[in-house]
Amino acid sequence: MTDAIELIRANAPLLGVGLPLFGAALMLAAPGARSAWALASLTMLATATVAVDLAMRLASGAPFLSVGAGLRPDGVGVWAFTVQTCLATLVAIGAGAMLREFHQRAAPFAFALFLVMVAAWNAAALSASFIGFAAAVETAWLAGVGVAALHGDRDRGALSGALRMLTAGGVAGALLLVGAALTVRGAGADLTALTEQQPPAPGAAALGMGMMIAALALKAGVAPLHAWTGPAFGRVGGFGALALGAIGVVAALFALLRVSAYAMAAPAIAVSVSHVLLTLGVISVVIPSMQAVGAVNVRRLAAYAAAAQAGCVLVSAALGSPAGFAAALVQITALGIAAMALFGGAASLGQAHGLDALDGLARRAPLSALAVTAGALSVMGAPLTLGFLGRWRLIEAGVGGGWWWAAGAVIVVSLAAVFYAGRLIERVYFRRAGAAAVEPNLWRLTLGPALVAATLAIGVGLEPSLLLRAADAAAALATGPAP
């Protein structure tokens, strides 16, 4: 038994990819929607156990593993693997209440695509080589498109959104592939090649990294490359919004942060990469904040809010310091948890997606209202929430690096968030319910994960020492252990 556990532990990264893929394959044999959901939940629970165990062992000082199979864990990778797997587990469990979003026969496919997406994002978080990384990101993206498209049965708008995802992501995929090839040509096949030696062709490596970052920024919904997010988030159902918003966007940001960490560790290209990140970050702070203020669709509003947060993440990463990467890790985690609470809470709105569907939610569905409120407060960066913690860390890192204006960027995001998140809260508590109805029987499963996320958004904000210590440790090992 002990040997078996040790074997599992030794191959934890491989299992992080393999288990969801195995679960996806089993979906083909699932007779119906409920069995598919149960299978997906079990698969994700097993994967999350492996991920949390790996993270805890590394946090307690266990040596990093080198497991082969093209995988190589590092600080950012293990953090990403753990957070996105745990979020995906919550999504899978909560999805039990959203089975009606799909035809009976389509549900297993939706879960299979979701598991493939998770497996591929995990592979991107743990991949050792640039080519493997690019392949994993593209696989995850295509699976995400599939999840969005499967919602087309109930709302044809989801098809339009999926089409936009596909075209924007397809172009980004082309950029990612060329970027990866250029980086391999300029530096070497593995991510560590950037840190272990002077790149033989730094120009090619810098250009390649720039292309990869642009491609990943598009997939993470970073402005101005976020045109796909509005149509896609706006019309996919609750499950799609959770899969794309709480997992897809978050995992893409982690992937972006991971390659950035390697690039910033290579002096020959660090400055160029920092400029790219900074430019994208500043744009992404401003434009989506303005769009979110005017948004009339709950999920679209959340997508724009996420893009604005992503801008802060990029500014943090552009700092290039361990403090900056730690701030970015905290912010992405905060974003994932807030998205989980917001989208999970909004799932009780069913097919309704206008802001007016939130009117009087506190009376109709108090627990949903609680989740939405916690998510909105965290997005707003209200004190004592995880969102505030992320922003404070960015300001600290920015001021520490002499980037005073980074505090200005945070203020812009927070000010805009006061308006749009405040609007959500006002509608939830101070409006009378309109025609929109809460989906019957939805609360039982959907709200569990959303409430867990809401509790985390507030609870970790109150006692963040463990999270901050872990983020600092992960950021210090952003490019893996010293050779």
């Binding site: 080519i131 690019a134 392949a135 593209e138 696989t139 295509l142 498109v145 599939g146 498209a149 087309g152 044809r156 708008g157 098809l159 339009s160 999926a162 089409l163 596909l166 075209t167 924007a168 397809g170 172009v171 995929g173 082309a174 950029l175 592939l177 060329v178 990866a180 090839a181 250029l182 391999v184 040509r185 149509p231 706006g234 019309r235 434009i287 989506p288 303005m290 769009q291 005017g294 948004a295 009339v296 669709n297 679209r300 997606h353 206008g354």
Partner: protein, 107 residues
């Protein structure tokens, strides 16, 4: 510069040009089929560029992703035609807007 090196650069330039052309087509065309065609052109350019730069394994990865993209794109276009009775992006937007009020743009 040797003829071989020049040839290599020309091949890369041609591939990148193809990628850019495809990208413009994919992001600006008003027809969903043309957009998908643009994506495929861009990806073919990318695969060619990557093949020229590295050769070997990356071609397999690129082609596999291209095929997957094409398969999903084809399915999406068929479904869009069934549900919207059109593959013009303008018609799709119009139908979507009719079922939801527009929102102010950022600009």
């Amino acid at each position: 510069m040797s003829v071989e090196a020049f040839g290599l650069r020309a091949e890369i330039a041609l591939s990148i040009a193809m990628l850019m052309l495809g990208a413009v087509m994919a992001l600006t065309s008003g027809n969903a089929v043309k957009r998908v065609a643009g994506v495929l052109v861009a990806q073919i350019g990318a695969v060619l560029a990557a093949g020229v730069l590295l050769g070997g394994d990356i071609l397999i990865v690129g082609v596999a992703l291209m095929v997957a993209t094409f398969a999903i794109a084809a399915a999406l276009i068929v479904r869009a035609q069934e549900r919207y009775h059109s593959v013009e992006m303008r018609d799709l937007d119009k139908a979507d807007i009719e079922s939801e009020p527009p929102e102010p743009s950022a600009s």
